[in-house]
């Protein structure tokens, strides 16, 4: 088990994994989100090459209603 900070809160995951793996593990539709790791937004085409490691700060966001 390793611990990330996801959306501002600690979250444990089984092991290091790539962004697509992380999203799949959480049942997230990758079409609808954007991801940043350690303050940098990761373009979708680069997701498979980015592995989340212990201590990483991850943001996963979506669109919601707003004005």
């Amino acid at each position: 088990m390793i611990t990330l900070t996801v959306n501002g809160k600690p979250r444990e995951i089984e092991r290091e994994m790539t962004i697509p793996e992380f999203l799949a593990a959480h049942g997230v539709n990758p079409e609808t989100v954007a991801v940043a790791v350690n303050g940098e937004v990761v373009a979708k085409e680069r997701w498979p090459g980015v592995t989340l490691r212990a201590g990483d700060a991850v943001e996963v966001v979506r669109m919601v209603g707003g004005g």
Binding site: N7, V28, T32, A34, A36, E59, R62, V64, G65, G67
Partner: protein, 266 residues
């Protein structure tokens, strides 16, 4: 808008090279249901629609939102950085917005104060410059400060979006003189954002020469949002047509509308 519209067939709003017939941008926050959101969008005739960017709840990642009901092929999506208190938060949110929407348009908001929700002139200009460097089309929300509008235009922003009054307050346009000056001096479209409460406010914005308005709360929180969306559309069209028609000047005195000669005297 039909060909026989009051504004005429060749009247377009153009932002960053893209043309729109509608001059009413609509927000998607605060509706009572997804159905109302979709129907209000439809009734408003809006072509540009704003959304916010928020953290996904990873424990409930597939909860549907109102946005899942919208046919996005019909609208230009305009994500905002609402809620961002600092330049860095706004930059990060803008970049995430580009990634999630696939569009480089961003409604930029840098709002340090959670009570009055007023935008930071200095931070907004700084963030705008950075985002423009990164290739964004920036539509900055701002206090109705004509000199700030000039700075933002000179930096390369696609529009300026001065506030009418406190966001969500429905107080209408309390900054009318400033907006007149901004309209007179600004080459990019002027979009009045925040505070509009009724079609009369939207019409007034257009009558003084604003190019468009952005409305959310006044539609979403009306008792009948769909009818209010239609009303706002009419108000914007009315104001635009009046601007093109050239209104009479305000005069401090009366003048009769019937002839003064030939009255029957007793």
């Amino acid at each position: 808008m039909k060909d026989d519209s009051a504004s005429g067939t060749n009247d377009y709003l153009e932002i960053a090279g893209k043309r729109f017939r509608s001059r009413l941008m609509l927000g998607t926050g605060k509706y009572r249901s997804p159905e109302e959101t979709v129907a209000a969008l439809e009734a408003s005739g809006a072509e540009i629609v704003t959304v916010a960017i928020r953290r996904l709840d990873l424990d409930n990642p597939n909860a549907k939102t109102e946005l899942d009901y919208i046919d996005w092929s019909k609208y230009t999506i305009l994500p905002n950085t609402a809620g961002c208190r600092t330049v860095d938060e706004a930059l990060m949110t803008a970049r995430l917005a580009r990634s999630v929407t696939g569009s480089n348009w961003i409604k930029l908001e840098v709002i340090p104060d959670p009570k009055y929700l007023l935008p930071d002139p200095v931070g907004t200009l700084e963030a705008a410059r950075q985002l423009l460097d990164e290739g964004f089309v920036v539509l900055p929300y701002m206090h109705a400060d004509p000199i700030l509008a000039r700075h933002l235009e000179e930096a390369g922003c696609a529009t300026v979006m001065p506030l009418g009054s406190a966001i969500g307050s429905g107080q209408g346009i309390l900054t009318i003189d400033e907006i007149r000056i901004i309209v007179e001096n600004t080459g990019v479209p002027v979009v009045v954002d925040a505070g509009l409460g009724a079609p009369s406010d939207a019409a007034l914005a257009m009558e003084i020469g604003a190019d468009a308005v952005l409305i959310n709360t006044a539609v979403a929180k009306a008792q009948d949002p769909v009818r209010m969306a239609a009303a706002m559309r009419l108000g914007v069209e009315a104001g635009r047509a009046a601007y093109l028609a050239g209104r009479i000047p305000r005069k401090p005195f009366a003048s009769a509308s019937s002839p003064e000669e030939g009255v029957v005297r007793v």
